[in-house]
């Protein structure tokens, strides 16, 4: 009757090996024109922080109007985040954001790679690098760990580090960031506990 217990224990061990806990996941699978605020994430409580109006088009998120941020509560401020971006035209991701005016933003603009602190509505470049070429579609990887934020353009060998990230250090909402242009294409948004 209890013969299955050893097998379950073994399964638990296998799950531990599989990787860190997924806190937020969205592949943006929904009908075109569905607002992200009306969309159910694959994993996570939903898109609720920030005033950006983002919607789904062709299985990706795109920005339509309103504020620049839209984020979801991961329940953890220290996270690994990754997201696929359709091109390199000044939109990216944000971590630890409380509203449109406060958070940590990473994006690529052509060949320029930036980490911004947006603090009380003021933009501060805290780190920058120049890529070897315009990456086009790319994946941003970002790790927020205490006062340290590390951002990487996957596969390029280019990363940014800022070690004094005091703003919103315990804020648990992370998400999408757009600049002024309508559009952008976000996909495969994933936030996990630190590995």
């Amino acid at each position: 009757m209890y013969g299955t217990l050893p097998a379950l224990t073994g399964l638990s061990g296998m799950l531990d090996v599989a990787g860190p806990t997924v806190l937020l996941l969205d592949n943006f699978t929904d009908a075109d024109a569905t607002l992200l605020t009306d969309h159910t994430m694959d994993i996570g409580p939903g898109w609720s922080v920030g005033s950006g109006v983002f919607e789904i088009q062709s299985g990706q998120a795109t920005w339509d109007s309103g504020g620049r941020f839209l984020a979801a509560d991961a329940g953890n401020a220290d996270v690994d985040l990754q997201c696929h971006l359709g091109d390199s035209s000044s939109y990216g991701v944000v971590v630890r954001c409380t509203d449109d005016d406060n958070g940590w933003v990473v994006y690529v603009e052509a060949i320029q790679f930036y980490l911004f602190e947006i603090n009380g509505g003021s933009f501060v470049v805290r780190a920058a690098d120049t890529l070897d070429s315009d990456p086009g579609a790319h994946t941003l990887e970002l790790q927020a760990d205490g006062a340290s934020i590390v951002a990487t353009v996957a596969g390029t060998g280019h990363s940014l580090l800022y070690a004094f990230a005091a703003l919103n250090q315990t804020v648990t909402t992370h998400g999408l960031y757009s600049t002024t242009a309508v559009g952008g294409h976000w996909d495969n948004f994933l936030v996990t506990e630190l590995a």
Binding site: L115, G121, S122, F123, V124, V125, A128, T130, A163, T180
Partner: protein, 79 residues
């Protein structure tokens, strides 16, 4: 590539189009750098702030920074 700490003034107005940034960023476009001081935004906004910037660059670029009148004598190479 060489790493160094460079003292740089901060410039900008804090807008997205004209963000606060080290003067070094404009003087040496394309430079890989990160803020190594973490000055509070309020201090930068007051104007006249100077902070340490960690740069990663070729020896040629580092020599150009050392030779620039704004940074001459304000560069420490990291070993």
């Amino acid at each position: 590539m060489t790493q160094a700490i460079v003292q740089s003034p901060w410039i900008g107005m804090g807008s997205r189009q004209n963000p606060y940034r080290p003067q070094l960023h404009d003087d040496f476009p394309g430079l890989k750098w990160s803020d190594a001081t973490g000055l509070p935004v309020a201090q930068i906004a007051q104007g006249g702030a100077v902070g340490n910037i960690q740069v990663t660059c070729t020896d040629a670029v580092l020599n150009a920074i050392k030779a620039h009148p704004r940074y001459s004598g304000h560069v420490v190479v990291m070993v």
